[in-house]
């Protein structure tokens, strides 16, 4: 066993932290909340320069061959900074899907994504399927699509969208210019920008179908596990900040003539948060390594376990962070409430706790005795 982060990952994390500290303050976040396009050209360029766009992808497809652990380090820092830049939504998420699809069409689109020349979003959720990404309710009939996709996270600015649909009994992945859809844009709970797409008898040519059947299924499943891990990374970054801020608040805020951190009940609350945070850190490390495993049952166990765990424990950290802060914790002026929204959001995107408990209980042990 070797649990020490590779030097490269530590460097990536440090750089990300420093970059965000210098370029993305709480005020930046508050201002960005009101913008309809979350892609800030300056920071977008900076991220390209930092090498973030190519990082998640294999060198063979034009990426820099970073690991999920590396990407997770960046996303963790973005969570900690409340950064809304659509790095995951427009680069990592579509890019990983395109990489997994692994056809010449998909890889040439991936090249554009890495180069920052395409703004591609993923649409894999619709109303009637819930979290069941393998059985979308959108149907492709005689080359035409009608129906809706929701929660298409696009930072408010995608030009292209990857969609899942059923063609008969077969899952298909379709690439589409977004203007082919009727687009309703809105903010999500975490402040990010997303869209609902309505497709009204849209004609789909053969070349718009990226892949189908088992290939599509495997691509979507791998993509899903990757994003589950990134949900955890983002929640961990936020939880870490909640704990830090709450601890500092307890050390400085006075009531009844003494710091509230001197009250035993508050001390025990904080110790509980500390211990939970420690375990969340372990789970993040675990899922960041195992979520890109080739062994599906190992992957599912890792991501279902981590997401289910985060959905209860990271949420508790956020709730207790607010409670210990008292009145100021429930205002938009302080970051704590925003972390609460972010964590709640990530606990529901890509499967909620019940969903992942179901997944977990349906997969066998990866090995005798846990590891």
């Amino acid at each position: 066993m070797d649990f020490k982060l590779p030097e490269n990952t530590t460097m990536i994390a440090d750089t990300a932290r420093r970059y965000l500290k210098d370029n993305y303050s709480f005020d930046t976040y508050i201002a960005q909340l009101d913008e309809s396009n979350h892609l800030d050209e300056g920071r977008w360029q900076a991220m390209t320069d930092l090498g973030w766009f190519g990082l998640p992808f294999a060198e063979s497809v034009g990426g820099y061959g970073g690991t999920l652990l590396d990407v997770s380090a960046i996303v963790q820092e973005m969570g900690a900074a409340l950064c809304l830049d659509p790095y995951v939504d427009l680069i990592v998420s579509p890019g990983k899907l395109l990489e997994h699809v692994n056809t010449s069409t998909s890889l040439s689109l991936l090249e554009k994504v890495i180069a920052g020349d395409a703004r591609v979003a993923c649409g894999f959720y619709d109303r009637h399927a819930g979290y069941n990404i393998l059985k979308p309710s959108l149907r492709l009939n005689s080359g035409r699509l009608s129906g809706q996709k929701h929660i298409v996270s696009d930072g408010g600015c995608a030009d292209t969208v990857l969609l899942s649909a059923m063609s008969g009994d077969e899952l298909v992945i379709i690439v589409l210019p977004i203007e082919a859809c009727d687009v309703e844009r809105y903010r999500l709970l975490d402040g990010s920008r997303a869209a609902s797409l309505t497709l009204d008898d849209v004609e789909i040519s053969e070349e718009m179908i990226l892949c189908r059947g088992e290939d599509a299924k495997q691509a979507v499943l791998a993509w899903y596990d990757y994003l589950c891990a990134l949900d955890c990374a983002r929640m961990y970054g936020a939880s870490r900040q909640v704990f830090q801020s709450t601890l500092e608040y307890a050390q400085t805020r006075k009531q009844f003539g003494t710091a509230i951190g001197s009250f035993q009940v508050i001390q025990h609350y904080l110790v509980d948060l500390f211990i939970d945070l420690q375990q969340l850190e372990s789970m993040l490390l675990m899922v960041s390594v195992k979520a890109e495993s080739d062994c599906i049952s190992e992957r599912v166990r890792a991501t279902a376990g981590a997401k289910a765990y985060y959905a209860s424990q990271a949420v508790i950290i956020a709730q207790q962070g607010i409670q210990i802060h008292g009145g100021v914790g429930v205002t938009e002026e302080l970051n704590i409430g925003h972390y609460f929204r972010l964590i709640t959001h990530c606990s529901l995107s890509h499967g909620d706790r019940e969903h992942h408990i179901t997944r977990f209980s349906q997969v066998g042990d990866s090995a005798h005795g846990g590891i």
């Binding site: 309703e184 999500l188 508050i266 914790g329 938009e332 409430g337 959001h345 529901l348 019940e354």
Partner: protein, 390 residues
Amino acid sequence: METSVNLDFNEEEKKFRESIRQWMVENVPEDVRSCTARGAMPDKSMQQRWERLLGSKGWLTTTWPEQYGGPGWSATQRYIFDLERALAGAPPTSPFGVAMVGPVLYTFASEEQKERWLPGIQSGETLWCQGYSEPNAGSDLASLKTRATLNGDHYLVNGQKIWTTQAHWADMMFCLVRTDNTVKQQQGISFLLIDMKTPGLEVRPIYSIDGHHHLNEVYFTDVKVPVENLVGKEGMGWTIAKFLLTHERTTIAGVADIHHEINRLKSAMESLPTENERQQAQRRLASLEIDLMALEYTNFRTVAATDEGKPFGPESSGLKIKGTELQQRVSQAMVEIGGLMSLPWDNKQPIGDEVFNQASRRYNFLRACTIYGGSNEIQKNVLAKMLLGL
């Protein structure tokens, strides 16, 4: 089988309930009902329209003694009224006038003060807010610093209040101020009524994490408050504040509105995408309903005790603790059961059942309910001391 314990409403109470239900069906305005059904909260004009309607029936001040215009209902009837109000989809009435300053006035105020202020509360005309908390006096209220200096026929008030709910709606504030710095903290506090339009008084909004404007900071710079707006004597502020804490608490648990929320959640069960999700959601719902049952019957006991002339004392803090926790848990369940449907924040079209569309805002909003009015931790400190003698 004959048992003289009756856990159900008796015939008279049932008739009363029926009449209230009927009235609600006929009178809760459609826009109010649909606002609540969406999980949203009314704006000022909608809220005041509804309260004026109740006021016109004499049903706004249901807890007041008859001599001051109360309807003369038993605690059970008041409970029933509140339940039917909630089940009909009407919002709770604002507590600051009716439940807080009103009882203070008819208990401590002069005849002139009663005549001047009670009618506006009763009719729903005057809106009030509560000036208690300050930036450095939250849980430790007694350390408040806002100062009122006597200056001839008026006080000059200087200082700052915070977390003032509905200050931006209010005509009047009842306010704890320090009138004496030379005595023990608690003894130097007085209770003043302040016109929100007085020069020198400034209200600044605080946005809550549900994205809405409920709270405010209120700044006082040489705000002139006539001496006749002092309630009781100087130095009685703390006594009055404590009086309010032990005043009628039969609806403190929020049972009525939790019923409404649970009914909303039930109505959305069919919209869940899979059988497995429905089944787990049903179990979670059952567990919440059972907790509500325990809360409700405890609440009934306080109501029945009040009707027997033996109102609960500090025990009712337990209702506040359990009630606020349950409100939070129901709202969390709603968000989590909604799943993806709970994610949109400011969309026009719900992406699933409407119930879930505002659920996350409500969940956010309700994080405050275990903090305000004395955090649950403070309530437990008090209970340990007063009830358990620890």
